[in-house]
């Protein structure tokens, strides 16, 4: 059993969102970087749990990013995983990222590829689905349960009107969300072990971007809250009806 976990680096959830250079670049000054929560809490931890059940499991982590993604992938290795691959590209075009990961996936021949539901910075929710097209593999999105039985995986996924259980023969790509695993904190032993785990840096394969960010902007701020007397809920209902026109 060989698992590939896709790890991305995102600003901490409390990071101040601001832009520089004529609003063309995210202002990284003072920003704390973290492992994208979905990748860490759900995809990676589930992979680690599978390895705990079957120690013969091999876990590889992959990230597409510059040198500054290295501390993030080391942090991921401190939680678990056997080795990491950093593809040295700072592209933020989803297709380019997926294309790079697909190359690594083809070489590594994995039984299972796990991604997070989406990154919390660009919110694309693209990579898993794109990998499925690039590798011609089944894709199950928004999974919150994953069990293995030999070569068959049983996965629960969110659908529009509830939850669906599916069975799929490996290899498969799964995007993970809440419910998949319990959040863990890396311990000292893991942190020490991560220092000596192999981190391979590979040059990006040639791929041309299909999209480019031309400019960012911030939403207009709210004009200010209108306070309503807690004794006068008729007034609130009236405002919602006549002013906001939402009920």
């Amino acid at each position: 059993m060989k698992i590939l976990v896709c790890i991305s680096k995102t600003p901490d959830t409390t990071a101040k969102i601001a832009f520089i250079e004529g609003n063309t670049k995210f202002d990284e000054s003072g920003v704390q970087w973290i492992i994208n929560p979905y990748d860490e809490w759900y995809a990676l931890v589930r992979a680690i749990e599978l390895k705990e059940k079957d120690p013969a499991t091999i876990i590889h982590l992959v990230t597409v990013g510059g040198v500054d993604a290295e501390s993030i992938i080391r942090k991921a290795l401190a939680l678990g995983g056997d080795e990491a691959i950093r593809i040295d590209s700072t592209s933020n075009d989803s297709f380019t990222i997926a294309d790079q990961i697909a190359q690594v996936a083809k070489e590594g021949v994995y039984d299972l590829i796990l991604t997070g539901k989406e990154t919390i910075d660009y919110n694309s929710a693209c990579i898993g689905s794109m990998l499925s097209a690039l590798l011609d593999l089944p894709f199950i999105s928004l999974a919150d349960h994953f069990e293995l039985n030999g070569n068959t995986a049983t996965v629960k996924r969110e659908i529009e009107s509830g939850v669906e259980t599916c069975e799929v023969t490996l290899p498969v790509i799964v995007s993970c969300q809440k419910g998949m695993a319990e959040q863990r904190i890396p311990n000292m032993r893991g942190i020490m072990a991560a220092r000596t785990k192999p981190l391979k840096i590979v040059a990006p394969a040639v791929s041309s971007a299909t999209t480019n960010i031309s400019q960012f902007d911030l939403p207009p701020s709210k004009s200010g809250v209108k306070l309503i007397d807690p004794e006068n809920m008729d007034e609130l209902v009236k405002l919602l009806k006549e002013e906001a026109k939402v009920i």
Binding site: C126, E160, V168, S214, Q215, K222, D234
Partner: protein, 320 residues
Amino acid sequence: MVLVYIDQADQQIKKASLEALSYGAALAKEIGCASEALVFGTVKDPLADLGKFGAQKVHQLKNETLNSLDVKVHSTLIATVAKNLNATVVVFAHNINGKAIAPAVSVKLGAGIVTGACSLPNTQNGFVVRKTVFSGKAFANIKMETPIKVIAINQNSFGLVEYNSAATIVEIKLDIPPASIKITKVEKIEGEIPLTEANLVVSGGRGLKGPENWGILLDLAKALGAATACSRPVSDTDWRPHHEHVGQTGIQIAPNLYIAIGISGAIQHLAGVNRSKTIVVINKDPEAPFFKAADYGVVGDAFEVVPKLTAAVLKAKAAN
């Protein structure tokens, strides 16, 4: 031609797809081409009605197996149809199914993709699509560089535009590729309004103290016909089911009205709800950060305010 993929659940067309269709029709008008729809499976709604939302033609691949999602199968078929029809833009709703399929379709078409789009493309100088990033805390304008484009639009970002016309229906015949997954069980959330489709949402936080107190919130939701949501600690402690958790790590919603009860308004919570049109905050602490993001605020004890609000809603309804 602009092709809009019509999503369905339980053989019923999703509202999010009607919005995608409205968007596709407006885009088609702007770039001067036809707007058509693609429906998979055995949908019960009358398909000619899709004309009301701007589809001139509806292409239907009527096969029961397509009623539930298999990304490999769906994306292969959508890409084939888009190629056969020479579609230049393929539009999806950025909902559960759209998120799963659209990126695979874009790869199969060699098309660039923007997901989470929130306004019509600017075609003055190239093709630039605006999308939400940083969980709604900012926008990015994305230049699409490929001849064919895939766009998945955010729910409640464009609205429904109605026309007075009917669509012609064309049945397509294609071989269905073998299934890549087997669905063994379906558990439906019965009787509730799905959160992502809801226009009105009532949401509770730790301020409600415990699951036994949720009655007042449910009563308000019922009076309004609203869906219910909660903050993360609430679902983490199992006071409410996981699918109600909204925020940066939960679901992101954009209803017309979001009523937050006993929720402090942490940045991670706001990230899931800040695209709501109108926000009402009920909190006993006037310093709660949520008031800064609110349109209307009530400083008071939820246990007193919420039943009063419910009574006021019922009174207003009865007066209508």
